[in-house]
Amino acid sequence: MGSRGTAAGNLTLAVSNTRLRSAVLPASAPTDAGTHALSANDVSVTYQSLRGKHIAVDNVSMTLRPGEFVSILGPSGCGKSTFLSVVAGLLPASGGEVSVFGETVSGPRKDIGVVFQQATLLPWLNVINNVLIPVKALRKSDRDYTQRAHELLELVGLSKFFKYYPNELSGGMQQRVGIARALIHDPNLLLMDEPFAALDAMTRERMSLELQDIWQASKKSVLFITHSIPEAVFLSDRILIMSPSPGRFVKEVVIDLPRPRTVQTMSSGEYAALCGEIRKMFDHLG
């Protein structure tokens, strides 16, 4: 595993008392300079249905630098989840190619963590065992990871709930378990498919703040999917705007708001201007 390793011994997370934990999750791959965390070249996906062929994703290209937070923003049905499935190796592309850290994606990879729109926790496992699913699925000894699971639960603010079952948790808490689960095997790339879409507006805003903390602490590369303009602007380094039928990236917006972004950021003029600008782009798309 070498430098990209997840050697259980050095999985310690220094958790500080402050809200924003300066904790450092085990460092992600110090990848060769120039290697993209993710790059997609002319990716297309065509679904075959009864009504004929449907082009869900059409010749999409993008890159993601290590440690970068990039969002794909678009209305529902424009092909965001489809594209993410291709990146995750869950769906073969009809055309084009995706590579993660320089390797062509041909199936699910062990160095990717995925957070889904629905928390998809296993109801018969308690929180800590749900967090450990990726480790167990990879047939690694989960004893080595229990400590890390507790640290991740601390990071997502659920350390007291490790013995709870999913049906005893609120939607927001379940989604946080999902985030901890996606980080347990120390993936280098985190894929998030509208992770907060099923939550109420207030929880959602809080989750955005927390996700920023987690991302800054863990230094992961993140591909984040959303249909919420404010969420995308708040979280991202860059936003790729996707238009529907067929799904294409039509614009790229760089968000250079200073970090860490806070609640004040959300009420700043710059922030509002960026949101307004992007909203206008969608209006032009029709």
Binding site: V114, F116, I133, A137, R139
Partner: protein, 259 residues
């Protein structure tokens, strides 16, 4: 009165009322004993049966064949159901025959089974196993196939091997359906045992009931029925208890399952 107490006392009151009406009906309408025995006669028959001990061999025979057949039938149902749910190829090979077998009334096989397996224990076990196989088999297939695809997709995203997803996700997801099937099969297994004994036997509760016909001993028929009800209720309760215990995340299904 607490819920616990009332849940015992109320049904007992119903029973007492029923017994009184039963006794009165016999007295008023002058129903002869061989048509409808008086409650006390049934009680007496139960006493002779279980305290003096005449019924015990029959009770144990029926219990043994029911339990053995149930375990074999249910075990096969879960294994075959799981294989069929997972393998489309296997499904293509056997599905038409399974449908055919399922639509056949299994009790019609009883004479044939007697020819093949004899008059004793074995033929009863086969009858029971055969009759409780299908509902559980169907429930197992449906249960495994209705596993939330999002969960399977999630396991795939985390590189879980297929067999791991099967044992750690699909089987658990199907557990509610499987237990519902186990409950239905309890009642069916008793039917199987009794039919087997009706057709050809020299022991068992079913045989006892049929033998009572010779001298119109209706009190003994009732005593036999009560014995069967006892086995059925205890079995159902046991499965319900396990259902609640093991499928703790999905309790809703436990008490509505028995059709």
């Amino acid at each position: 009165m607490s819920d616990r107490v009332s849940s015992i006392v109320y049904p007992v009151l119903t029973l007492l009322l029923l017994l009184v009406v039963w006794q009165l009906a016999i007295d008023v309408l002058k129903v002869p004993d061989y048509i409808l025995p008086r409650p006390l006669a049934v009680l007496y028959s139960l006493k002779v049966g279980y305290i003096d001990g005449e019924f015990w061999p029959h009770f144990l025979f029926t219990l043994r064949s029911t339990v053995t057949g149930y375990v074999i039938g249910c075990g096969c149902a879960i294994v075959v159901g799981a294989i069929l749910a997972e393998s489309r190829t296997f499904e293509k090979f056997v599905y038409p025959y399974i449908i055919g077998l399922q639509s056949m009334p299994k009790v019609a096989l009883a004479p044939l089974i007697t020819v093949w397996f004899g008059y004793g224990f074995a033929s009863k076990v086969v009858m029971v196993a055969l009759i409780c196989f299908f509902p559980l088999f169907v429930n197992t297939v449906v249960g495994i196939r209705q596993t939330n695809p999002a969960l399977i997709n999630m396991m795939r995203a985390f590189s879980a091997p297929t067999w791991y997803t099967f044992f750690r996700v699909k089987l658990f997801a199907a557990a509610g359906h499987i237990f519902a099937g186990l409950q239905i099969s309890i009642v069916l297994s008793l039917i199987g045992a009794v039919v087997g004994e009706f057709v050809a036997s020299s022991e068992g509760i079913g045989w006892l009931i049929q033998a009572s016909l010779a001298n119109f001993n209706t009190a003994q028929m009732f005593a036999g029925l009560i014995s069967l009800i006892f086995i059925g209720v205890v079995g159902t309760r046991l499965v319900q208890f396990l259902h609640n215990r093991l499928v703790f995340w999905d309790r809703g299904t436990a008490n509505t399952a028995a059709a």
